[in-house]
């Protein structure tokens, strides 16, 4: 350690008014790390209180409003938990249509994350705005892919954000076969846009920091699938997946001094969820275009660089577009059949899990004999990642602490962005001065 650069003070959000988002604190004195903390405020526990007292068929309508990016995931995790609690079975048609809605959300979220948050870092600019000036065609392609994802959700789930058509046991309103054919055509037409975005990230991928830290990776697993709405909880640290109903033995939520949000750990001090975890656990099930994308980036199942989460998202964006076409063909071949879900409320406890774009999401509810929700527990992907972000920072800082302070700060921010944390959607209001 040189004497010249031996003191660093980084406090990312010390003076700003950001709510609901994390803070990085790093203090290095005389070449020694005195403080390094990823600090995060409480995740939205108040949403759990809001569903208590609600009827079994209203819960998903509340939870889908938690977040404007992951609303299908929150809706579907809730539905799966409700169906588990009330012993409701769903048809293959419902299952496939829900998967397509999930795919719409993955397309939306992954293209937005890669295009708006990761690409500017790699291009060396502060936000997507300068990128719109230098690479307008790429940003327009991102917007078209975003629109495609939202259109899929709109057709399947009834709305572009905050779905309404998905209900316990089935669909309140089914898409028509014409709608589904239009989606299929939309995906086919979107391949050039997807390729442009992926190729642009590929051309900049050399800028991804070369940092590795082996950790535990956790995702849903299911034989023969790259699952998003099914499966048990798998880990790179065990060959024995755990049923979703035992999710508490996986997340082991615990309190730490530096954060009011709870942290998670399973076999180690921390684990990672999200696209990279899914890729590592389920890569054998990828379809050809996704395999080719992974190969182009040099992504392998041995990867343990958290910055590659963004690359795994690009691979998954291709995977879900490709698999959407397969599922659409299956649905169209079978034809859309009207269904009337019959549900009898009863007392019960149930858990549901889906792979939200940012990682595995758990919902868990208890209902009384009238089907009124009496207890709720939501474990979001970002909470599961906080401990891992901290451990990554602890490993990364000693490797980069001789660099200029601004560069250290940027690398730590990029690390957080790689996880694309979803803390809350609480800060959408305008905050303006008249000029």
């Amino acid at each position: 350690m040189s004497e010249v650069t031996s003191s660093v003070e980084i406090n990312v959000h010390h003076v700003t008014r950001i709510e609901g988002h994390g803070n990085i604190r790093l203090r290095i004195r005389d070449g020694k790390v005195e403080q390094l903390e990823w600090q995060v405020p409480e995740a939205p526990r108040f949403f759990e209180a809001m569903v208590c007292g609600r009827k079994w068929d209203e819960v998903q309508a509340v939870t889908c409003r938690i977040c404007g990016i992951c609303s299908v995931s929150h809706s579907l995790a809730a539905l799966k938990a409700i169906e588990d609690a009330l012993d409701i079975t769903i048809s293959e048609q419902t299952d496939r249509l829900r998967l397509l809605a999930m795919y719409g959300e993955q397309i939306e979220s992954h293209f937005l994350h890669v295009g708006y948050l990761v690409a500017p870092d790699l291009a060396g600019v502060k936000s997507v705005l300068p990128l719109a000036a230098s690479h307008p065609e790429v940003v327009k392609a991102v917007i078209r892919c975003h629109k495609l994802g939202n259109t899929i959700m709109e057709v399947l789930a009834g709305r572009r954000t905050h779905p309404v058509a998905m209900r316990p046991g089935g669909f309140g309103k089914l898409p028509t076969e014409g709608d589904l054919r239009a989606i299929r055509d939309g995906i086919e037409q979107a391949w050039p846009d997807a390729k442009l975005v992926v190729d642009t990230v590929l051309s900049l991928a050399g800028k991804l920091p070369a940092f590795e830290r082996p950790t535990e990776y956790v995702a849903l697993v299911e034989p023969g699938r790259y699952p998003f709405n099914h499966g048990s909880i798998g880990s790179t640290d065990t060959k024995q997946p755990v049923p979703v109903q035992e999710y508490k033995s996986v997340v082991n939520e615990h309190v730490v001094a530096q954060s009011t949000a709870k942290w998670a750990k399973w076999h180690r001090d921390s684990y990672m969820v999200g696209a990279l975890a899914r890729y590592k656990l389920n890569h054998k099930e990828l379809l050809p275009k996704a395999v080719e994308t992974a190969r182009a980036f040099g992504l392998t199942p041995k990867a343990c660089n958290p910055f590659l989460n963004s690359v795994a998202q690009a691979v998954e964006a291709v995977q879900v577009m490709e698999h959407s076409l397969v599922v659409l063909e299956e649905v169209l071949a079978a034809g859309i059949k009207p269904e009337k879900p019959q549900v009898k409320p009863k007392a019960g406890w149930g858990a549901g899990a889906v792979e939200a774009p940012r990682g595995v999401l758990f919902h868990n509810y208890t209902f009384d004999e009238h089907g009124i929700c009496t207890a709720a527990n939501l474990v979001i992907p970002t909470n599961q990642n906080h401990a891992n972000i901290q451990k990554d920072m602890e490993a990364l800082v000693p490797q980069i602490m001789d660099r200029p302070q601004d560069e250290i700060r940027l690398l730590l921010e990029m690390l957080v962005r790689a996880y694309d944390p979803c803390v809350s959607c609480s800060t959408h209001y305008l905050d303006v001065e008249f000029v």
Partner: protein, 159 residues
Amino acid sequence: MRPVVVIGLGNLLLSDEGVGVHVIRALEEQAASFPEVDLLDLGAGGLSVLYAISGRRKAILVDCALMGEPPGTLRRFAPEEVRTVKALSGFSLHEGDLVRVLELARELGQAPEEVVIFGIQPADVSPGQELSPILQGRLQEYVDRVAAELAELQSAYAG
């Protein structure tokens, strides 16, 4: 796609933060009066504004806004009339700033000729599924203001 779009923004689980969505829901009852207009509840999905306004003649956005006004105040303004002072973490897609989103739309040449924002100063943005009494009491006034703007447009198009 219709030439005019009215977009309500906000999180319905955070009291007055969701006022834009409440306005859209009320306007939907009069949708038949505005055949040239799409009414969209984009909820907390603020980035969707980018494509939802693309290709339109006019976009009207209704959102909760900190403007330094008394709670409940509605102000109608163009994006050019304001400067954002909102601090973003830059960590996540889960935060939004409509002013920056509109700037991006303009940069890409995808913004309508006319963009109007109806900003409503909140009284309370804490967790809750109802508007504060102050905003609830004035909700009809907000709806009427937006409807009046649409009625003017309607007659202009008809003329």
